[in-house]
């Protein structure tokens, strides 16, 4: 039951993009087409889940063990960057089609603040190992959800009669704001 609560809370109620406003850059940048939005979401979910597991271990056994909590940000960035690199090589070897589908998005995830946010949230919330992994996966799922919704709306917007000054980025930001408002409505769910 707790795990389900963690999942819903991370994916919907505290949605990374629309409630915590983390990872706005890929949210705006990669939400033009539904296909690439799904790819980006999958890649991010993948990295988030692994990051959750590894940073939990790192925090518990190295940082807390040696009283080095002040090194959290530095070490997490180091770990995330290395992980993404490894994951990229691994995918390239194992599944070339998946590698081509993820394309440029995989290395871009290195600099995605949602991932670092996830690592820091984990420490704050003091989850155990299994809860951390569920939290990481749920965060990724929430990120994917936001991206896919946004991409769907933006594909419709392509055909809509948008006033000239609002075309492109402005209308996208307005839509993002409306979506964020809608997601705020989930806050009473749990």
């Amino acid at each position: 039951m707790d795990l389900i609560l963690i999942f819903i809370s991370a994916a919907v109620i505290n949605n990374y993009v629309l409630v915590s406003f983390l990872g706005i850059c890929p949210f705006i940048g990669v939400s033009k087409k539904l296909g690439s939005a799904v790819s980006m979401g999958m890649a991010t979910t993948f990295v988030m889940t692994i990051t959750a597991a590894v940073t939990w271990l790192l925090n518990k056994y190295i940082l807390v063990g040696l009283h080095l909590e002040f090194l959290q940000i530095v070490s997490f960035i180091l770990v995330i960057a290395s992980l993404v690199q490894l994951v990229e090589m691994f995918i390239k070897k194992v599944s070339r089609p998946l590698y081509d589908a993820l394309g440029i998005f995989l290395p871009l995830i290195t600099t995605n603040c949602a991932i670092l946010g996830l690592a820091l949230f984990l420490v704050m919330k003091q989850y155990n190992f299994v809860e951390s992994i569920v939290f990481g996966f749920a965060s990724g799922a929430g990120f994917t959800l936001a991206l896919v919704i946004m991409a769907g709306i933006r594909e419709e917007l392509e055909l809509a009669d948008v006033p000239e000054p609002f075309k492109g980025a402005p209308i996208t930001l307005i839509v993002a704001g409306c979506l964020a408002l809608a997601f705020m409505g989930f806050s009473g769910l749990i």
């Binding site: 040696l66 080095l68 000239e164």
Partner: protein, 272 residues
Amino acid sequence: MNSTTFLYSLLSMGGIGLFFSILIAVANKKLHVEEDPKISLIAECLPGANCGSCGYAGCNNFAEALAGGKSQISNCPVCSPSAREEIARILGVSVEIGERQVAVVFCQGGDDVATKKAEYRGIKTCSAANLVSGGERACSYGCIGLGDCVTVCPFDAIHMDENNLPVVDRAKCTGCGNCVAACPRGVIELHPISHHVFVLCRNRDIGRIARTVCKRACTGCLLCEKAVNGQGFKVVDNLAVVDHDVYTKELVLPTEKCPTKAIVILGTKDEH
């Protein structure tokens, strides 16, 4: 902070860094994927500017497409002829070298000759100014003068002169077309380097109005057309147009006749 904390942080950070670097180094060897060796060879020949003119995200993607036979070398407008030949050799195909294209700015309305209609204090980009009011200059056809084209040029081939008018360095220009896309007024066009005579104005208003907004505007006075008996110059919609196919030799005559100096000779014959 005492010395143990210091030591521990050094060791743990160094340890993590070392661990991952070894891991990545090993993974790089173990998980090495055999790629077509042509790809890296081609990528070395490409300009590496990642300008995107070929339609791919970067030079590496273009190299992959070339090696896979999905694209053609001629899609890269930036490549030097020698590099194209080299790539063609790698791919084992012959190459037809098209004429080099350079950007031409179809406006001479610098701050010295253009009439100002207002003072623009907004964001200093042409696209922003174009949205609000069209910038400072009264001419609604010509250059806005805030240098979006300069910003997007990956080759340092376009610069603003002292009158805030872009000047193309024909030697450096590779014809990638970034500036053409960046200009909200569509004042920049790509032309083969063998074209030398241009009517550098886009104003289609009648002569009287055109002249009030810019001293260098083409007024559609027909003097150029008459000077060559309609062979090569034609006035359409109050704007003279050069027919580059017909008009190759007699460069000087209409240039001298033009009362507003809107007709200009760019470059020299042997610059190709």
